[in-house]
């Protein structure tokens, strides 16, 4: 048991922090206001190797552990929730399943450029009728000769339209469970942008993480080569669930970063702001609020780091990931809300960063499995 970070981790963290302060923070407000995807920042991150941190070096990545990757998302999210989620969706939801389930050819063809940051990745599972209940998926894939034919649509896809490589889930069959009920069989596929029959629908107008590009994907008789099946046919559901376990650590890191960013900003603000002839930091209400916020942030950080370590050292880390995401997301919501309050009227204006952090925080309780789903995972494991 050791709570001190290694030298390598400390170095990595300072590198991420410097990049975030210098390259990401100055653009955060504009990215939010104009709802533009920070393309230039993504290219700079690619140059710095931020888009393949946990991918082994032989596949073009940095060969670091999950904790290093978590710290990257955390530091980026401290200043910009949008940038944090771009890295998280790309790394956890697209690189990771290809690394875990891909064939050598698939890794060479797709993972290498993804990890190098030459290409951006995304993950398509959710549909209008299938959010928390993934069994509602309607998108179908049918094998026709040596091609799979995809028909259907996906919604709320992070990095949609901006990404080049998509991991898509579709129904490829039906089976019966022990009770004789019909269950859909899913399979995972790698689909490239530009494939005929693969188009983009609506861009969602969101409350927060407004620079993150969230699109609808549409598949109309979209033909992809047979060899783009990812993992075994019919095993898509477990591939999706395993992928989301890792993704949840990424989102937990994003939530943690948002909370830390809001806390740091607020500490600086309450020291400067004067009322009744003194800084508002001198009032006990402020002091206690800050104490609560800091304590919760640290508790969240320990859960998130523990989940990252679990991913590095053990096969199954669903519960650790679920606890980390659940707690960090709820802390992010609470801390950012309090941060706005401690800023008073100024906190409600878009001149200050905390209102953006509060808007960004809310999504962390929803995507990659709502807080309720995390509770299902945790209690399911405890009450077996």
């Amino acid at each position: 048991m050791d709570f001190t970070l290694s030298k390598e981790h400390e170095m990595a963290r300072s590198l991420f922090r410097e990049f975030a302060e210098k390259e990401v923070k100055p653009l955060a407000k504009e990215v939010d206001e104009t709802e533009t995807f920070p393309r230039a920042t993504v290219e700079k991150m690619a140059k710095n190797g931020f888009l393949g941190i946990p991918v082994p070096k032989e596949y073009g990545g940095q060969g670091c552990d999950p904790l290093t990757y978590v710290m990257c998302v955390e530091e980026l999210s401290k200043v910009c929730g949008t940038t944090g989620v771009i890295v998280s969706a790309h790394t956890s939801l697209c690189c990771d399943p290809i690394l875990t389930y891909g064939t050598e050819e698939q890794k060479q063809k797709y993972l290498v450029p993804l990890a190098k940051g030459e290409k951006l990745g995304a993950f398509g599972l959710t549909e209008p009728g299938a959010g928390t209940d993934a069994q509602g998926v309607q998108t179908k894939a049918v094998l026709d000769g040596d091609e799979w034919v995809l028909n259907g649509s996906k919604i709320f896809i992070t990095n949609g339209k901006e990404a080049d490589v998509y991991v898509i889930f579709a129904v490829t069959g039906v089976t019966e469970d022990k009770k004789g009920r019909k269950k859909k069989l899913f399979s995972a596929f790698i689909v490239e942008k530009g494939t005929p029959g693969f188009t983009f629908g609506t861009k969602e107008k969101k409350m927060g993480i407004r620079g993150s590009s969230t699109y609808e994907l549409i598949f109309t008789d979209c033909r992809i080569p047979k060899e783009n099946l990812l993992g075994p046919e019919g095993k898509g559901f477990s591939i999706a669930m395993h992928t989301l376990d890792g993704g949840r650590i990424g989102i937990a890191a994003q939530a943690l970063g948002l909370a830390e960013g809001a806390l740091e900003t607020t500490i600086a603000y309450v020291k400067e702001r004067k009322q009744f002839g003194r800084a508002i930091a001198a009032f006990q209400n402020t002091q206690f609020q800050i104490a609560d916020m800091a304590t919760k942030v640290e508790a969240a950080q320990l859960l998130v780091y523990k989940a990252a370590m679990a991913k590095a050292t053990q096969k199954v880390y669903s519960v650790e990931a679920a606890k980390a995401k659940l707690y960090a997301a709820e802390v992010a919501m609470e801390v950012t809300t309090k941060a706005v309050q401690l800023h008073g009227g100024y906190g409600y204006t878009r001149e200050y960063d905390v209102e953006r952090m509060m808007r960004d925080a809310k999504i962390t309780e929803i995507y990659e499995g709502t807080s309720e789903v995390q509770r299902m995972v945790i209690s399911g494991a405890l009450l077996k």
């Binding site: 629908g201 609506t202 609808e216």
Partner: protein
């Protein structure tokens, strides 16, 4: 009131601009059935100006007798002279049953006449039959036979009421258009034509018609439309919505759409049905090329009748549809349009 004096089934043969409205033929068709059960005949009451030659049309569809009230005062429909005309016919001829179409004209005329002659009226009936009242004998109460049992939806269609008028004559009903079947046309059929004019003395209840406006409504608010022809992404393009426009025109409906169509820029936002669009409750909703995500269903599942056309048989829209066709909308919709046009042409 001596109920025995009243005999025969009468229908009000609505005409506008000296053209018999379709509802008149539907009423004759239904009237024939009722008359058969009562062992009597069907009489059409034709009210207007220079309308005598329409009597043959009424005969061709089964009227045994036509009573014509022809007067310049009756050129256009106005409540007072028409009510006077029809009430006078009833007072003179004493019909047992008087049916009026539940059109804008009939809904105005029916209650006016029933109050004037002091009898019962059931509005907007969807079913009429001859039977006993009460349906099952009640001790101490006389069960009357050969009564007109009038059935109509009430409370917005949430309950069905069957109503009788045992103690007054005629038994009056306005009948919902499109529910009853007209008989096949018999060319050259002749009816007994009687002219009757009760005389018209304009009084202060005679309104003066200043202007009659006939507008072809181009855009109906989709929330008010009775029939919606709604297209989704499956329609494929803005141009291809012409198929739906044609169908809507043939069936007298309005085109609406799903969010995907608005996002694609094919249709304006005010035609969007669904959670983030409008909530609609038409009588008929055609869902064409719409998969039926809950976000869309929430805006239309209260429709009385849902007809889905989709190439994917597992599309969720079929879970809520009353009628569904699995197939290519590009083939189905034109055929449907053509068929509707043919049926309408026959009914002209």
């Amino acid at each position: 009131m001596n109920l025995e004096e009243y005999k025969g089934v009468f229908i009000f043969a609505q005409q506008v601009d000296n053209v018999v409205s379709g509802i008149a033929y539907e009423l004759i068709g239904k009237g024939k059935e009722l008359a058969k059960d009562l062992g009597t005949e069907v009489t059409a009451v034709l009210i207007g100006y220079n309308v005598k030659d329409l009597a043959d049309d009424l005969a061709a569809y089964g009227a045994d007798r036509v009573i014509v009230v022809d007067d310049p005062e009756l050129k256009e429909y106005r409540t007072e002279p028409y009510a006077h005309a029809l009430a006078s016919v009833i007072q003179k001829y004493k019909p047992e049953v008087m049916l009026v179409g539940a059109t804008a004209i009939g809904r105005d005329l029916g209650p006016r006449v029933s109050a004037r002659i002091h009898t019962g009226l059931t509005a907007d009936c969807t079913q009429l039959e001859i039977g006993d009242f009460p349906l099952n004998p009640v001790p101490g109460q006389e069960q009357k036979h050969n009564q007109l049992l009038m059935t109509r939806p009430a409370f917005g269609g949430n309950t069905i009421a069957t109503i009788a008028c045992p103690n007054f004559r005629p038994q009056m009903a306005t009948v919902r258009p499109g529910v009853m079947q007209k008989l096949p046309k018999v060319e050259g059929a002749k009816a007994v034509v009687e002219e009757f004019n009760p005389g018209f003395t304009p009084n202060r209840n005679y309104v003066e018609i200043l202007d009659i406006v006939k507008s072809v409504v181009d855009t109906v608010d989709i929330m008010d439309a009775k029939i919606l022809v709604s297209g989704g992404r499956g329609v494929g393009s803005a141009e291809n919505f012409k198929l739906l426009d044609d169908l809507a025109e043939a069936i007298g409906g309005t085109v609406s759409c799903s969010r995907a169509v608005v996002d694609a820029g094919w249709k304006p936002k005010d035609l969007q049905v669904g959670q983030t669009g409008k909530t609609v409750r038409p009588n008929v909703y055609f869902a064409i090329g719409i998969s039926g995500a809950i976000q869309h269903l929430a805006g239309m599942e209260e429709s009385d009748l849902i007809i889905a056309i989709n190439k994917d048989e597992s599309a969720p829209i079929f879970d809520v549809a009353d009628y569904g066709i699995v197939g290519d909308l590009n083939k189905i919709v034109p055929l449907l349009t053509q068929h509707i046009k043919e049926v309408k042409a026959q009914n002209k």
